[in-house]
């Protein structure tokens, strides 16, 4: 299996398994939804078919049994309910494992094998129950036996021809013997079985009528159409099915794969590959058009063809894969799958282009050549557009990540014996693929926490007068250059006093410390805060809330908690949209340059205009609003020349604002974020570095962290002042 095929197989299985999971979860709420039942069957069936094409026997063998059960569900022989859905979900998980093993060419572990056996036993239990039903129905049984007999008769190398002539065929001068003799000219009749069940032994017998049917095993290199042409003269007077040799399945599959990739329907694919003839297609389409049942839903063409023994199931599967590919190809004018590494390389190069552009701009400015400056301005605009578009290439919707939680919520609810409904909002919100990948684990922990510790048991909720069903929301939206992801529950909420008590016990805060509600809730993210007594197997997955916070901060994000006792908790994660390039605002502090992400810059004001008392206290009065500020010179211990005319850059993140005191404002620039080395990665207040056009390195400020610092310093000073005042009063 080459890499492309492997990737295609893996992607297809992954998509099908996701579809299957979605359909199964929908079936839980509405077990009679035939569309979903069909969707689950189709997914399992296609995985089996595709695995067959690649000879992944383990996958085929397992999915075959699951597919048989689903087929019985479709035909109404097995009633689908909670237990079977749970079993099928487990089968889906196991199929995922088998597919992975098949791709990596590894053997199944003893543990997985034992799980497989357990699942097969349960699946066979459902199949056995349908067999009992079948025994009561002799007609069905007879049909089954007949089919099995015919199947047995088909040797892998040979054609199978099944022909039933009209009774009047002999009267019209057509003797089957002549057709069979002609067949012998193109190949060998390996066996011919004469079916005489319809031959009347009573007076109804008309000797001039033909009552015999024929099943022929035929060895020939002829094409299907040639074989069919043998019966050309009687095609209006017979029912003819020509099933190609099983050996040729691979050949047909190969031919199907080799077909030009234009949009074709299933029938066209099968005809063009030679798997069925045009006549067979027309007959099947005619049959398909006839209402099969009271619901007037036509059976899929593939099923009609298989039922009519026109083609092997495997060939139909290959054609369906091809059809999917074709559909994907037609989509490809809009969607193209690109290796993530290639995208990363492109974005890196765009980053370098941005830096080189900045250098050229600077040189142009130094030269003072107007034409050059004008030309550079055009190039800069284009570079900016290229940058934005390149970054957009990495943007993916968060919906796929959110959808994973449907299953988690379902499983965990059952485990906890709670009834929890998950609502997803903003699934189409886009963010950088790397961020999406890295946020999945912290989100998982928050979701589990909300279900385990947040949402109360049905009994407790009932006692509190809440609806018995708990609600969990996953929301995503864009807000000032960031994406905000919320995990919101309507559970019991956080108990501020309890948190403070625990924090004091663990010496995380001092007894006398004045703590705001926001700060109190932030304590849950402190290492070692976990309330060990409450840890269940759900939370004990080696990831504490402190790790959640660290992971989010590593993405230059912040996490915020709002909670009302009794009403629930909302954890908001705020993340930058991208990790690679941003628009920055360049400021000067001493000899050094600093970059503030432009999205967060609210305004710039002159520090000298401000009241000097306020300045000493670490905050200013900004149009009636208290604005804490941070002197970057002091914070970063800059020793260069100090400006007499300082400015405050007002930054905002969410609802929080702060000011940074700087020596000079140098303006906007495109900033390529270069990660800090390992030694510097834990530095607070710095999220990365960038190279300026001059070659100078500028530090990119971690604004959320610095806002927090500014607020804390200001708050501490305020508390100290108020403490001093109260001491004075006493």
């Amino acid at each position: 299996m080459d890499d492309d095929s492997q990737q295609m197989f893996q992607q297809e299985c992954s998509d099908l398994l996701t579809d299957m999971e979605d359909a199964l979860l929908l079936l839980e709420s509405n077990p009679h939804d035939n569309d979903q039942i069909n969707a689950v069957f189709r997914s399992m069936h296609t995985i089996k078919g595709t695995s067959g094409v690649f000879s992944f026997d383990d996958v085929v063998n397992f999915t075959h049994v699951a597919e048989s059960v689903l087929d019985n569900v479709r035909s109404g022989k097995i009633e689908i309910g909670g237990d079977l859905i749970a079993l099928l979900l487990e089968c889906m998980d196991h199929t995922k494992i088998l597919v992975q093993l098949a791709i990596s060419e590894k053997n199944i572990t003893a543990e997985d094998k034992s799980k497989e056996n357990e699942l097969l036993t349960q699946l066979n239990g459902y199949l056995d129950s349908t067999k009992d039903l079948k025994e009561d129905n002799s007609l069905q049984e007879q049909a089954l036996v007949e089919k099995e007999d015919i199947d047995d008769a088909v040797d892998s190398k040979y054609w199978h021809i099944s022909v039933r002539f009209d009774h009047e065929v002999l009267v019209h001068g057509m003797d089957p013997l002549s057709f069979f003799t002609y067949l012998k000219k193109m190949g060998n009749i390996i066996s011919l079985t004469t079916i005489h069940d319809q031959l009347p032994l009573n007076e109804d017998f008309n000797p001039e009528n033909l009552y015999l049917g024929f099943e022929i095993v035929y060895d020939s290199d002829a094409e299907k159409q040639q074989i069919e042409q043998t019966f050309e003269f009687v095609k209006e007077m017979c029912v003819l099915y020509i099933l190609p040799p099983k050996d040729s399945i691979a050949r047909y599959a190969e031919m199907i794969h080799a077909l030009p990739e234009d949009t074709m329907r299933l029938g066209e694919i099968l005809v063009r590959s030679g798997a069925i003839s045009m006549d067979e297609l027309e007959n099947a389409l005619q049959l398909q058009a006839e209402p099969k049942n009271s619901k007037n839903t036509p059976a899929p063409l593939g099923e009609v063809l298989i039922d009519k023994k026109a083609v092997h199931e495997e060939v139909v599967d290959a054609a369906l894969v091809k059809q999917n590919q074709n559909q994907n190809m037609s989509k490809s004018q809009r969607v193209l799958r690109v290796d993530a590494e290639k995208l990363d390389l492109l974005i890196n190069l765009v980053g370098e282009l941005v830096i080189a552009g900045a250098t050229t701009n600077m040189v142009a400015a130094q030269l003072g050549d107007e034409k050059l400056l004008e030309s550079m301005s055009g190039i800069s605009r284009l570079v900016e557009e290229i940058r934005d578009n390149a970054l957009n290439l990495r943007m993916v919707q968060i919906g796929d990540t959110f959808n994973r939680f449907k299953r988690v919520v379902r499983d965990v609810s059952r485990e906890l014996g709670k009834d929890i409904k998950l609502t997803i909002n903003g699934a189409d919100t886009e963010l950088d693929k790397t961020v999406v990948e890295k946020i999945a684990d912290p989100l998982m922990h928050l979701v589990r926490n909300a279900m385990d510790h947040g949402i109360e048991s049905a009994q407790d909720r009932d006692n509190k007068g809440k609806s018995v069903q708990g609600n969990l929301e996953l929301n995503a939206y864009h807000d000032s250059g960031c994406i905000v992801i919320e995990v919101k529950d309507d559970g019991k909420g956080l108990d501020r006093d309890e948190i403070l008590k625990k924090a004091m016990e663990k010496n995380l805060i001092a007894d006398s410390q004045v703590i705001s509600e926001k700060e109190a809730f932030q304590l849950i993210f402190e290492a070692g805060f976990s309330t060990a007594a409450k840890i269940t197997n759900l939370s004990g997955r080696g990831v504490g809330m402190d790790v959640v916070k660290k992971n989010i901060e590593a993405l230059r994000g912040t996490v915020d908690v709002e909670s009302n006792a009794g009403d629930g908790t909302k954890v908001s994660i705020r993340l930058p949209l991208t990790l690679a390039i941003i628009d920055g605002f360049l400021v000067k502090v001493g000899d050094s340059s600093y970059v503030i992400p432009l999205d967060m810059v609210h305004e710039c004001i002159d520090l000298s205009d401000q009241n000097s008392d306020d300045k000493e206290q670490g905050y200013i009065n900004l149009r009636g609003e208290v604005l804490p500020f941070l002197k970057l010179r002091e914070y970063f211990k800059e020793e260069g020349p100090e400006s007499t005319h300082k400015s405050i850059v007002v930054v905002q993140q969410g609802n929080y604002k702060a000011g940074f005191v700087v020596d000079g404002l140098l303006g906007e620039l495109q900033t390529v974020i270069k990660p800090m080395g390992k030694i510097l990665k834990d530095l607070r207040g710095i999220s990365g570095a960038t190279i300026l056009g001059s070659g100078e390195v500028a530090v990119i400020l971690d604004v959320p962290n610095l806002i927090q610092r500014a607020t804390q310093i200001s708050h501490r000073d305020t508390v100290n002042i108020s403490n001093r005042n109260s001491q004075t009063l006493h």
Binding site: D175, F180, L192, T194, F205, E208
Partner: protein, 104 residues
């Protein structure tokens, strides 16, 4: 088409000859029905058959099945090359070689 070679009260030896096709099948069927009613054992010699089509083969098959059902004997003997080819193709020689079961 059909001639009686030898007979007694319970047994008759017949010979089928010439072109046995749909043109003669109705008569042949009636005659065979008659013999089946009147005799316990019938032997049919096929050595002089010059043509045998599916309709005749079907009549012979039905006669054989009837004989088995009625606990009688019907044997097809001396297949020449022409008739042998048809009998081989249709692959029901097992039935033609069976003796009466009496319970069918």
């Amino acid at each position: 088409m059909i001639s009686e070679i030898e007979k007694d009260d319970s047994k008759i030896n017949l010979a089928l000859e010439g072109e046995l096709s749909i043109y003669v099948v109705d008569d042949l069927n009636q005659q065979l029905d008659g013999y089946l009613q009147n005799y316990q054992a019938i032997n049919i010699d096929m050595s002089n058959v010059s043509e045998l089509d599916t309709s005749v083969y079907q009549v012979l098959l039905r006669a054989k099945l009837l004989s088995m059902n009625n606990n009688k004997e019907l044997n097809i003997d001396n297949l020449n090359e022409i008739s042998q080819r048809v009998f081989d193709l249709y692959s029901l020689n097992d039935i033609f070689h069976q003796t009466s079961t009496g319970s069918h």
